[in-house]
């Protein structure tokens, strides 16, 4: 039960952070970090796939509400939620991973966490940026935006996880 409350808090916190802070920061035309993806990353490792998909859908749908971009974020988060179990199965390192635990630097090591975060974020961002422009003209420009933003989003998520695990 307390875990549910923890996730609701995380969801609300990330939404506020995204809407109030990151959506307002103008890094450049190429860099738009979407840190709310952290919610999908932080879901328990053993969570059933269908629940991950539904929660991903909810996450994207909420962001779309606030950004006035119907479907764009939803498509990206559903894609990321769908890819998550496959990334998890590919991404097993030598450390043992218990299925009930949440991904964290403390449990899984910083290298595992960065690789896992980066993998989810890049799938999310590639989908997001291509769906957003909805065309393949300027293919490489969109690719560059997605890749640069992925680096920054990953950076911010790892920083936030560092703070979270320090407490």
């Amino acid at each position: 039960m307390s875990k549910t409350i923890k996730y609701i808090t995380l969801f609300a916190g990330l939404m506020l952070l995204q809407i109030l802070l990151f959506n307002n920061i103008q890094f450049s035309g190429y860099i738009n970090p979407y840190v709310y993806v952290m919610f999908i990353i932080m879901l328990p490792l053993g969570m059933p796939e269908w629940l991950v998909l539904l929660l991903s859908f909810l996450t994207g749908f909420t962001v779309d509400m606030f950004c006035g971009t119907p479907g764009v974020h939803t498509a990206a988060t559903v894609m990321a939620g769908f890819a998550r179990p496959y990334i998890l199965s590919l991404n097993i390192t030598s450390e043992a991973i218990s299925p009930s635990s949440t991904p964290s630097i403390k449990n899984n090591g910083i290298r595992w966490f960065i690789v896992f975060t980066f993998s989810i974020v890049i799938i999310h961002h590639l989908t997001l940026f291509y769906v957003e422009v909805f065309r393949f003209a300027g293919f490489f420009r969109t690719l560059l935006r997605a890749l640069l933003s992925t680096v920054f989003t990953t950076f911010f998520i790892v920083i936030m996880e560092l703070f979270r695990s320090r407490r």
């Binding site: 939803t74 498509a75 559903v78």
Partner: protein, 275 residues
């Protein structure tokens, strides 16, 4: 049919993925009607409300600048008010080549230090000699009288607060024009005292008290406060309890009033003192 169902159940997650992704794409393609229908109906404008609060927060960060602009604008408006300009006699128009003579200049200032809990309270302003501030200039807040400059340095000035036992000001009742003397008894920071109001003066609770302009400190008709409670009779005069219009504990932006004719007036009055 059975085999189809089996297939769907086995690949439940993939089907769910397709359904959800399909919904996303439908939302995307019908985005024109979407805003009016789905968003408004399902969420009841929650998103709009939160976005609105976000804008409120953003505008909050700009308040400092807005305040400064408003204070400046107010000073400009005050200067344009009728009371601050005086029509010069026709003979002088030729000499000065001007119609209106400037009587008072309002200078905006910010309170950088303020005391209200002592007996001789003062406050510090962020304007000094470099802005043309000199001793004896009146300080008013947007709500009314606030104090008088008693010391200046290059960039700061200190004003004697209304809440100072040494503060005395000639005031009058706005309605009946009887004048008296205002001072602060040193008890409550919201209330001052007006003495020397004659017995026959008609005073009711709520009467407005303004500056009389008889002293050279404050211009005429600056708001001081309102009469509270019944007048107290003592000796030959009435004593009134006046609630100050300016809340001295919340003083932030004030105007320093520069009187361009103060020197001339005081010089003339000093010359006749011995008569």
């Amino acid at each position: 049919m059975r085999r189809l169902l089996d297939f769907l159940i086995r690949h439940l997650n993939f089907v769910l993925f397709l359904v959800l992704e399909g919904i996303a794409l439908i939302m995307l393609s019908s985005s024109h009607n979407y805003h009016n229908s789905v968003a408004e109906n399902i969420f009841g404008g929650v998103a709009a409300r939160i976005n609105n609060s976000a804008e409120n927060i953003r505008s909050f960060t700009r308040l400092r600048q807005v305040n400064r602009q408003l204070a400046y604008e107010n000073a400009m408006l005050h200067q344009k008010l009728e009371g601050t300009v005086k029509v010069a006699p026709a003979t002088e128009v030729k000499v000065n080549d001007t119609i209106n003579k400037l009587y008072y200049t309002y200078i905006t200032a910010k309170v950088v230090n303020n005391s209200t809990n002592k007996q001789k309270n003062t406050f510090t302003l962020d304007r000094g000699l470099s802005s043309g501030i000199t001793n004896g200039m009146a300080v008013v807040s947007p709500d009314g009288m606030a104090g008088v400059i008693i010391a200046t340095s290059q960039n700061f000035s200190v004003a004697m607060s209304v809440l100072n036992l040494n503060f005395k000001q000639s005031v009058r009742l706005a309605r009946t024009k009887y004048f008296g003397s205002m001072s602060w008894p040193g008890k409550n920071y919201r209330y001052a005292e007006v003495t020397e109001i004659p017995h026959h003066a008609d005073v009711v609770e709520g009467d407005t008290v303004v500056t009389s302009g008889y002293s050279a400190l404050f211009p005429e008709n600056i708001m001081v406060g309102t009469v509270e409670g019944a007048p107290v009779e003592g000796g030959d005069f009435l004593t009134l309890k006046v609630k100050l219009s300016t809340d001295m504990k919340r003083l932030t932006y004030v105007y320093i009033i520069k009187d361009h004719y103060k020197g001339e007036r005081l010089g003339l009055e000093a010359g006749t003192d011995n008569e």
